[in-house]
């Protein structure tokens, strides 16, 4: 109950602080901006660790195994796990089930090739140590190479081939409306592409083609701007809806109280600023 009310007050304070920037840059805005950046980074790191690194990386290097049954290399390998367990108990758990001691995480099959990913991940952290920071480039090289290969394949098959295929349309389909749509689409694609073709000077008839291309692009930008405005208004509606909800008695009149306090502080700080400027002058 009290946590809910406290949450509402925090939400209202942060919302009003961010909105106060519309009036002018101020201490409330700066405070909430810094809180947002800090909390977002911590939130992302925590979620990524507990959802990916712990179960999917450590879980594959050390899947749960009965300690008594370990032998050879695995006995040594799970010995390292035990040391890690002593240091970081929550991340590397051990449990006793029916008197039998188990070490490890989850029930995935063991896959030691994940050690490569683990080492590259550690290299990435070396950026924090300037002397060996160059090692992080190896990890970055892997990430860039993998992402480039993956994207090239996706864009080639779906964006380039898929979209070219979708543009190969009949100019006359037997249906007037559909035919007009197809003609507009084909003309738009060709003239739009031509606008970005710089190997010949755009003059005479080519200038007209290029100009038609610009008009199509302008329509696209106009539509994008319209959608962007729509999206921003939707977000404002969401925040206002929360402010309205939290203005009630059950939330201790959070919105009106905080709004009044913030307006008063902004007015007083504005006056003080004005006086200081006058004194300096």
């Amino acid at each position: 109950m009290y946590i809910g009310i406290l949450g509402a007050w925090v939400a209202v304070f942060l919302t009003l602080s961010i909105l106060s920037y519309l009036y002018k840059d101020n201490v409330f805005y700066k405070l909430s901006e810094h809180i947002f950046v800090g909390v977002s980074a911590a939130h992302w790191a925590t979620i990524a660790f507990w959802n990916q690194v712990q179960p999917n990386l450590f879980g594959r290097l050390w899947p749960q195994a009965e300690v008594a049954a370990l032998e050879g290399f695995n006995k040594f390998w799970y010995g390292i796990y035990h040391v890690l367990h002593v240091l970081f108990e929550k991340v590397f758990p051990e449990e006793t089930i029916n008197g039998v001691l188990y070490r490890g995480i989850g029930d995935q099959p063991q896959n030691l090739s994940y050690l490569i990913a683990f080492i590259l991940g550690v290299f990435m952290l070396f950026r924090l140590i300037p002397k060996i920071g160059w090692l992080s480039r190896w990890s970055l090289a892997y990430v860039i190479g993998m992402a480039a290969g993956l994207r090239l394949y996706g864009y080639m098959s779906s964006d380039v081939i898929g979209q070219i295929h979708a543009t190969m349309l009949p100019l006359w389909t037997g249906n007037l409306g559909e035919s007009i749509n197809n003609i507009i689409l084909i003309v738009g694609v060709l003239t739009g592409l031509f606008y970005f073709f710089f190997s010949v000077e755009h003059k005479g008839a080519l200038k007209i083609v290029s100009r038609i291309g610009i008009y199509f692009l302008m329509v696209y930008f106009g539509a994008s701007f319209g959608f962007a405005v729509m999206g921003r208004i939707s977000l404002l509606i969401g925040r206002f809806n929360d402010l309205i909800e939290y203005s009630g008695k059950q939330y201790g009149f959070a919105t009106p109280i905080l709004l009044l306090i913030m307006v008063a502080v902004l007015i007083l700080s504005g006056r003080k600023e004005k006086k200081n400027k006058e004194a300096e002058a």
Binding site: W44, M230, I233, L235
Partner: protein, 303 residues
């Protein structure tokens, strides 16, 4: 006439804070005093709705949550409506998230629809696999194996022990993919790395700002419709209520009993009055701004 011309000239130098205040008021007033403006459905939303509607009762659907609190007002109502639609038909739902915040959005939507309304069983009727970092690499990964990417679900249960996942080894085993997307990674990545290569139908509910980028995929048939921003969400709510009210298509027994809930809790429809009025005022500002510009230019040319 002279006074009006003076007024138009002054508009050019109007303090931007006055415009912010007016926009604030036109958003706030319809939220406090709803007008109940009608919602007309469009082809884009209908295509997405009927793509889901045409799925058989035993179909498994993969929902991916790629949005957070910042885009919640636009996309969350879509997530609630699509979940209601799928559960109304008896479809099974596998959820995953490519954004960390998506996990919380998914849990909130499931708490309302799966738990409170439909009272479904976790792991049998639906599952939330949680968030995995890696963007399109995760999508590419699940085209080969879910278990390799999600060893455990969002509750820490190994996915080998989750009944609904027994028949879902890869993304190829789902009948439909739906992405609730507010940016990258999102709907486009689902088309590029899962929909097209596996030939699994994909649709999406998006923030308004993304819609223009997705229309080519809809036109080419690579995407089955799009729920476009808040208006799209309101249209989907309307279509779902029309379906349940008219008892059309597949419907589980519970669905009709939940109709009052569907009608009562439809945020996008509730918000559309404010959205429409705000758009009207913005259009008015653009017109006045242009007139003001031309009046001023004409006056400058005179002298």
């Amino acid at each position: 006439m002279g006074k009006f011309t003076n007024f138009l000239e002054k508009l050019d130098s109007l303090d931007r804070r006055v415009i912010f205040l007016i926009i604030g008021l036109v958003v706030l007033i319809p939220l406090l005093i709803p007008l109940g403006l009608p919602i007309e459905t469009t082809n884009l939303t209908e295509d997405a709705f009927y793509a889901i509607e045409d799925l058989p009762a035993n179909a498994k659907v993969l929902l991916s949550f790629e949005y957070g609190p910042s885009s919640k007002p636009e996309i969350h109502p879509m997530a609630v409506s699509v979940l209601r639609h799928l559960f109304s038909k008896g479809n099974e739902v596998v959820i995953m998230c490519l954004w960390p915040d998506g996990l919380f959005m998914a849990n909130e939507a499931l708490e309302l629809v799966a738990h409170d309304e439909f009272k479904l069983e976790y792991g049998v009727d639906y599952v939330n696999l949680g968030y995995r970092p890696g963007n399109e690499a995760v999508i590419k990964g699940i085209t080969k194996s879910f278990e390799a990417n999600f060893s455990v679900d969002s509750r820490g249960i190994p996915i080998s022990q989750i009944p609904i996942m027994q028949d879902v080894q890869t993304a190829r085993d789902v009948d439909f993919i739906f992405s609730f997307s507010a940016g990258y990674p999102g709907a486009i990545e689902w088309v590029l790395y899962a929909g097209d290569p596996l030939q699994v139908p994909v649709s999406s509910g998006n923030s308004s700002i993304q819609v223009n980028q997705l229309l080519p995929y809809v036109k080419s048939g690579q995407m089955k419709g799009v729920i476009a921003g808040m208006p799209g969400a309101a249209e989907y709510e309307t279509l779902l209520i029309q379906k349940v009210e008219g008892k059309e298509g597949l419907l589980v027994n519970k669905a009709h009993a939940l109709l009052p809930n569907f009608k009562e809790n439809r945020d996008a429809t509730k918000f559309m009055d404010a959205q429409s009025i705000a758009h009207l005022v913005i259009v008015l500002f653009i017109i006045l701004g242009n007139i003001s510009y031309f009046v001023k230019r004409k006056k400058q040319q005179k002298y």
